[in-house]
């Protein structure tokens, strides 16, 4: 068990260490920062920034995130079936068709409700 997953953790550690080396290299080797007022302003193509920088966000983004949770969890339910598909045969296939039908009804409902329309 440990010997199966140890290389995976080693790779994750190496990945983090390499990212850290790049990161530290940036802060040690980088030139001195001369703080001028213009440099410290939020970058907006040269025009002065007005108002706060944390804007009100369109609700569409939240809606997409919620739809993602719904559909991705459904995908997770399908994976175990997919690996056992050949053993389960026609019975398994039709059971999964029932499940997928529910998913498709949900998708059609979302489209009809306009949850996926970004134009207005």
């Amino acid at each position: 068990m440990i010997s199966t997953y140890a290389p995976m953790f080693l790779m994750i550690f190496v990945a983090l260490a390499l990212a850290g080396v790049f990161f530290l290299g940036a802060s040690f080797l980088g030139g001195k920062l001369k703080k001028t007022e213009e440099m410290m302003m939020p970058f907006e193509c040269g025009s002065d920034s007005s108002g706060g920088n944390h804007l009100k966000l369109s609700v569409k983004f939240y809606l997409t995130a919620i739809l993602f949770v719904v559909f991705d969890i459904e995908a997770v339910f399908i994976y175990p079936w997919a690996t056992q598909f050949k053993n389960l045969g026609w019975n398994g296939l039709f059971s999964m068709f029932g499940f997928l039908a529910v998913v498709i009804v949900a998708l059609v409902y979302c489209v009809k409700k306009g949850a996926l329309e970004w134009e207005n």
């Binding site: 980088g30 690996t83 979302c110």
Partner: protein
């Protein structure tokens, strides 16, 4: 975990990380070079090592990549005064580390059987038949009896058996961690990239960054669904989520692109969208958001985002090769050597040593990966950018229903063919052999075309449009880079 395992793991990590870093670096050059070719201009050719006063080593602009690296490290490291200091620093690490960690489960080659990797000495009789194994200074036959009457000895590179592994002296997997949850691990790691982008935009205290981060997060979660569902068909056919098993299935039957053609295109599209490149580069659309969620980053921290993007191209190409293009497999080359066979008609069978097959496999895997990387670069410079509503519509109303339909179709067709019995199975075997033949012809054609292209003189088109191009043409191009226009 023994010391030997640890050393083997470290070597594998070194090879994989080395490949990722080098190819990602090269891809930045290929991207520019390709864009200049497609847009009919000279492209990068300034950076160079001055050898003498007149001769400068330029290497087709290859040194621009090195110059970029030096520049990234020596640039000022800027942080906006109102930024969230912890999150702002954490974001580039979160963007880069998962892409590297993702490569842990990708198999680079066939499983090594340590007993068969080295050469062995055989003793032969006068007719050249092997009598037994030469151990020390004695010849032992299969029952460990000493054979004294042998005529000669010969060194042989043993071939592995086609099915099953000789694990008497242990086996070595050529993936860093051969997990049985392969694909699930990949989805888990690929999902972390979203967090890096979202945090970068949120902590930067900049309107452009925030909008870019939102677009990035929304786009990546949307395409994550398609990415996941498009692979269900492949999992059904292969009967596993372990990447090694998938490649072995493809070697025994046919490449995944022929059994799951729709899934290949869905996965390819979703993978390009996940790496946020043209035509899906809305999060960093230059004309709208400067550079999106990393607008406020500079120096190597920006370089980390930039580099992570190119490494993502390499890892997604590796995944495409593993799942749909046969991984380390080449047509008609199996674990035991070359077997050219159509249906039941055997044409050639030639045993090849285990070590040679391993080397061929590893080279085939990395070669295929490079070809798919190049394909992704071509896509980038050939397509215009989507509008955001088009992008979301494409995902939820076209790709998602198509990937669901793919599951239905795969299930019905597979079970239907299974109930067809022996004649259908024989037909399928012949069909898969024919697809292997087609792949072999295409691969050989590609190699021949590349060789011809390399040695034929470059054509000079006479039509020159731009004034700067005209001036350069009058001078005969630059010193090392004659005009291509």
């Amino acid at each position: 975990m023994t010391t030997l395992d640890l050393i083997a793991t470290l070597v594998k990590i070194l090879v994989m990380v080395g490949f990722l870093f080098n190819v990602a670096g090269l891809l930045t050059w290929v991207d520019r070079r390709l864009s200049s070719m497609i847009q009919d201009r000279i492209g990068p050719n300034r950076a160079g090592l001055p050898l003498t006063k007149k001769i400068t080593l330029r290497l087709f602009g290859l040194l621009h990549t090195a110059a970029d690296g030096v520049k990234f490290f020596t640039k000022k490291d800027f942080m906006p005064p109102k930024a969230d200091k912890l999150l702002f620093s954490l974001a580039p690490i979160l963007a880069m580390a998962p892409v590297l960690a993702l490569a842990a489960v990708i198999p680079m080659g066939d499983t090594v059987s340590l007993a068969q990797v080295g050469p062995r000495k055989l003793c032969m009789d006068a007719e050249g038949h092997a009598l037994g194994l030469f151990v020390g200074d004695q010849c032992l036959d299969a029952a460990k009896n000493i054979v004294t009457a042998f005529a000669s000895t010969a060194t042989q590179w043993p071939a592995a058996s086609r099915l099953g592994m000789n694990s008497s002296q242990g086996i070595l997997h050529l993936s860093i961690a051969p997990l049985n949850v392969g694909i699930l691990y990949i989805f888990a790691m690929a999902g972390q990239g979203i967090v890096g982008a979202a945090i970068a935009g949120w902590s930067s205290d900049n309107k452009f960054s925030l909008m870019g981060a939102l677009r990035a997060a929304s786009q990546m979660v949307s395409y994550e669904v398609t990415l996941g569902l498009s692979l269900v068909g492949a999992m059904m056919i292969y009967g596993s989520v372990r990447l090694q098993d998938m490649v072995i299935w493809q070697g025994e039957n046919t490449w995944g692109i022929f059994v799951q053609p729709l899934a290949f295109f869905l996965f390819f599209t979703a993978a390009v969208a996940e790496s946020k490149r043209i035509p899906f580069d809305l999060p960093e659309a230059e004309s709208e958001l400067v550079s999106g969620y990393f607008t406020e980053y500079s120096g190597m921290k920006f370089g980390m985002f930039y580099f992570a993007e190119y490494m993502e191209i390499v890892t997604s190409s590796m995944l495409l090769v593993t799942i749909f293009l046969g991984g380390w497999q080449l047509p008609f080359l199996h674990r035991d050597g070359l077997t050219l066979q159509f249906g039941d008609t055997m044409i050639i069978q030639q045993k090849v040593g285990h070590l040679a097959m391993l080397v061929i496999g590893v080279l085939a895997f990395f070669g295929k990966t490079l070809i798919i990387c190049l394909l992704q670069a071509f896509v980038r410079w050939s397509l215009p950018r989507f509008r955001y509503d088009q992008l979301q519509k494409l995902c939820w109303q076209t790709l998602l229903p198509l990937s669901l339909a793919n599951i239905f179709a795969t299930g019905i067709i597979w079970l239907g063919l299974q109930s067809g019995g022996a004649p259908v199975a024989a037909g399928l075997k012949l069909a898969s052999d024919i697809t292997q033949g087609v792949v072999a012809v295409v691969l050989i054609g590609l190699v021949v075309w590349a060789i011809i292209g390399m040695f034929s003189p470059s054509r000079h088109l006479t039509q020159i449009l731009g004034t700067s191009a005209k001036r350069a043409a009058k001078r005969g191009g630059t010193v090392t880079d004659p005009m291509q226009a």
